[in-house]
């Protein structure tokens, strides 16, 4: 068993609010230099750049998981972290069916779909910054139906965090973890949110610029940097877990 560092919430240039410098190679090399072992690509309501970042990581020791930051109809952000690009793409098909509107790049920013080497494949025309018409419960169910892990994003943030939007975490919502932003430390978060101590806490960067990649991270005690090991760590099973002091 060893300790690895995971940053499971990183945007690419596909997210309208992220900088164009968030290219697959840029993200991977930044994550490597920050000492991350496991990262997840979570763009708003889309996973179209996830495979490109996975491709960009092939010559490195870093593991990249495909993910998505889904906006529920309550405007709560939930991360879906998946095992394979196919699961992420299937989830994306469902999300697109429930996401209305066209992006206005002038107002919200460009949504650039790229290959691993940064070659521009096109621009996503959907309103990715918008909200789906899926309830929070339905989003979590759908993530699980696609073999993914569901994480309530940045619960310490007023805007789009589950506590800011709803004021509480519905007890029957089967979240796999709660994410804390870089504004708060993991140990502070566990005392601030002591009422939710049954949940696993993660810290991630929610990086929209290269410099932020790896600045928020969680130490995991696992056998390897993989989806299956992450899943065990979040559940605290088979000796895997989160190293909150790390």
């Amino acid at each position: 068993m060893r300790v690895i560092h995971a940053d499971l919430h990183i945007h690419t240039c596909l997210s309208p609010c992220a900088e164009l410098e968030m290219s697959p190679r840029g993200i991977v090399s930044e994550a490597v230099s920050k000492g991350a072992d496991l990262i997840a690509v979570c763009d708003h309501n889309s996973a179209e750049n996830a495979a490109a970042v996975m491709d960009a990581s092939r010559q490195t020791n870093i593991t990249v998981l495909p993910g998505m930051e889904v906006t529920s109809k309550e405007e709560v952000h939930v991360l879906g972290i998946f095992s394979t690009p196919d699961d992420a793409t299937d989830m994306q098909t469902l999300i697109y069916e429930h996401l209305e509107g066209q992006n206005d790049a002038e107002v919200f920013g460009m949504q650039v779909v790229v290959e691993a080497d940064g070659t521009v494949l096109g621009y996503n025309e959907r309103l990715l910054i918008g909200a789906t018409d899926l309830s929070l419960e339905r989003v979590v169910q759908a993530i699980h139906a696609h073999n993914g892990l569901a994480v309530a994003a940045h619960i310490d943030r007023e805007g789009f965090g589950i506590l800011g939007q709803l004021g509480f975490i519905p007890p029957d919502l089967s979240l796999d973890a709660l994410e804390i932003s870089t504004r708060m430390g993991l140990s502070d978060a566990r005392s601030t949110y002591s009422g939710y101590s049954d949940y696993t806490f993660l810290q991630s960067s929610d990086a929209h610029v290269l410099d932020a990649v790896g600045r928020g991270r969680t130490a995991l005690v696992v056998e390897a940097a993989s989806f299956e090991e992450l899943k065990l760590a979040l559940k605290g099973e088979q000796g895997r877990g989160i190293c909150y002091e790390g």
Binding site: T71, K73, E74, E75, E100, G101, D104, V107, F108, L127, I129, G130, A131, R157, E158, G159, F160
Partner: protein
């Protein structure tokens, strides 16, 4: 519903102006009250004054896209620094008030009348 200059509304109802003064000459032709951004994107009309409790930066993108005349933050809430910076950049006035939504919207209704 009466069309009224934003400046008149601000002065009559004693709203605190958080952004740089000078964008208050816009005419307000309606009021929209909502805390869900997606709902505002779908239903608010141009020149509406938006009453909300959300103070994060995305409200500026929404107001800008819908060409709203301004944003009123209720219940003593204040805009985040980044929200204020973007608001000044986009010239979208942000006002604040201690009143909660019902009372603030009620006063606006009293001033501007029915749709």
């Amino acid at each position: 519903m009466r069309i009224m200059e934003l400046k008149t509304i601000v002065e009559t109802l004693n709203l605190n102006v958080e952004t740089t003064r000078g964008y208050l000459s816009r005419e307000v032709s309606g009021i929209y009250v909502s805390d869900l951004l997606s709902d505002v994107l779908a239903h608010a009309k141009e020149d509406d004054l938006w009453v909300t409790l959300q103070g994060h930066p995305n409200i500026i993108a929404v107001a800008s896209m819908k060409d709203l005349s301004g944003i009123v933050l209720v219940n003593g809430r204040t805009p985040e620094d980044e929200t204020l910076r973007k608001a000044n950049e986009e010239e979208i006035p942000i006002m604040t008030t201690e009143m909660q939504t019902f009372n603030r919207a009620g006063k606006l209704y009293g001033l501007l009348g029915e749709e």
